[in-house]
């Protein structure tokens, strides 16, 4: 892999909670324009790994580098300020504010008032949230709230996007649309998607990283992972 293309890298990254090694000495790298999925059974450490990347957790040891800048232990807003868009596992939206206000807050972080307003309108159209434009987000259905959060990520026009379970709790149609949206985002940005839903991963993935017991078990295409005996044993075995 060409060194210059690497946009995100972890070296020897570890996160321990007491005696539990949630993430254990992980070396990971992501190249520009990639769309990478992180999968693994419950407790494999993918969400903890994700939180170390986004600054929500301070790793016990090791480094996180974004475009060769060491961001280990930085605050989430400092990582966001590098142009990284983040969606967390639990929907984090501004419940009391309307869809429009939610997305505007994100766009306005980067743009002047008038540009932020057009960007907000564009994002609402792109995510087909026009009907609930003036509704408080707290009153929306789960799938729509997920999209509002995605809208906030998109409106900031990030070059690197980190999504934790973007399709969780969605209906099949919603999942299909989310997959389309993610592929669309991938045209202009590099992505990491943490996901449980195998069908969803098949819809979007090129390269998949399989986590197991706090480490990376293998990295390959979804087909190869599905065919692999070890992967089957730790993850797909009880499903396939």
């Amino acid at each position: 892999m060409n060194r210059a293309e690497i946009v995100l890298e972890t070296r020897n990254l570890s996160m321990h909670f007491g005696g539990v090694r949630a993430v254990d000495r992980v070396d990971f790298s992501l190249s520009e324009n990639e769309l990478r999925c992180l999968i693994g059974p419950n407790g494999a450490g993918k969400s903890t790994f994700f939180k170390c990347l986004t600054g929500q957790l301070r790793p016990t040891a090791g480094d996180v580098l974004i475009r060769d800048v060491d961001v280990t232990g930085r605050e989430p807003h400092e990582i966001g300020a590098l142009g990284v868009g983040i969606k967390t596992q639990v929907p984090n939206v501004f419940e009391g504010l309307t869809t429009e206000e939610n997305i505007w807050i994100s766009a306005r972080r980067w743009h002047r008032s008038s540009r932020a307003r057009t960007l907000t309108t564009e994002t609402i159209e792109r995510l087909q949230l026009g009907d609930v434009r003036s509704e408080p987000v707290g009153r929306l259905a789960h799938g729509q709230r997920q999209w509002v959060e995605l809208g906030m990520v998109v409106a900031a026009e990030p070059w690197l996007v980190l999504l934790d379970e973007p399709a969780a709790g969605m209906t099949h149609e919603e999942t299909v649309r989310t997959a389309e949206l993610i592929r669309e985002i991938n045209r202009t940005a590099t992505l990491i998607v943490v996901e449980h839903d195998m069908q969803f991963i098949r819809m979007i993935s090129r390269r998949v990283t399989l986590f197991h017991e706090g480490g990376i078990l293998m990295e390959d295409t979804m087909e190869a992972i599905s065919a692999d005996a070890r992967a089957r044993q730790v993850y797909l075995g009880h499903r396939a």
Binding site: T54, Q56, E75, P76, H77, E78, I79, G80, A81, I86, T88, N92, V93, F94, E95, G96, L97, E101, W104, I105, S106, R108, R109, S113, S134, E149, M152, A156
Partner: protein
Amino acid sequence: MRLSRDFRGTLVIAVCGLAFTLFAPEVLEFFTIITLSQVIGLAILALSLALVWGFGGILCFGQTAFFGLGAYAYAVTATNIGGSTGAILMAILVAAAFAAILGYFIFYGRVSDVYLAIITLTVALILYSLTRRTSGPEYKIGNALLGGFNGTAAPPLNLPGDAGTVLFPEDTFYVAMIALILAYVFCCWLVRTHFGRVCIAIRENETRAELLAYDIRLYKLGIFIIGAALAGLGGVFFCVGVSRVTPDVFSLSQAAVAIIWVIVGGRGTLIGPILATFALHYLTASLGSQALLNANLVLGTVLIVFVLLVPKGVVPSIIDLADIRRQRRVARSRERRLRLRRTRNGNETAGVGK
């Protein structure tokens, strides 16, 4: 758009305030006007807490710390320099600077929620104890004796640049009212700016605001300082109204009533707490002139009733009610139109039948 509707509301309230300013001295007794300056100071305190708590989501139980510091700073400065204009600025500055230092440690130390409430209240109570112990001739700043338990005299306001021309109580009332109206309009403007909206967003969800690359510590510190500066200004009018400032401004009961005003008036509005201050002050004042009921008992009952029955506060509940009625009216007229169309269609089919 909704924005312009909001702004029209602000304008209407500001005009009502101005009308009150002009006509109150005509209608009300002289003594009431003198008391009102004091209450206006308290209303500015309530407004500052409405901003910090209602919009910034920071439950500052010790907002009176800044209020009292403002009052003391005004009294001491005005006594020393012999003019009130510089002293008002000093009051605002002292309150803001104190909030900047305290807020830095609170927000950059990521203290929040109930801990923040307790810390700020404790700070107010520490100031209470400190100022009470300043009796004796050795506790003086320049010419101003702090006076311990009895407090220190607060000189009246004077014309800017002319310390000799002291304002009459009516004039002080005008100045205080205009300050309150300007402070109110300022707050309404502030919560609609980018800064204000980010503060509201932080109140709604800190994690999301952080992930959107906003430094929430800085924003919280910012609104905390602005709130403290306003509280300091409130302290000025309060002590000018009483002509004195005593350690009681830092007391537990003073800190608690400020919270009560905001709860009763409604969090998330700016006018609610202001009106609640006037109303509750009127209530306690009229209860104070009779001996049947203890004023504090009634105030406590009012608080319990509000927390149980009107938890959102008066103004938000009125807004909700109006919204529900408007929705009902829209639904009813839609229904009527539908029914009308149906009968008309029915007549037509009946006509065809013939």
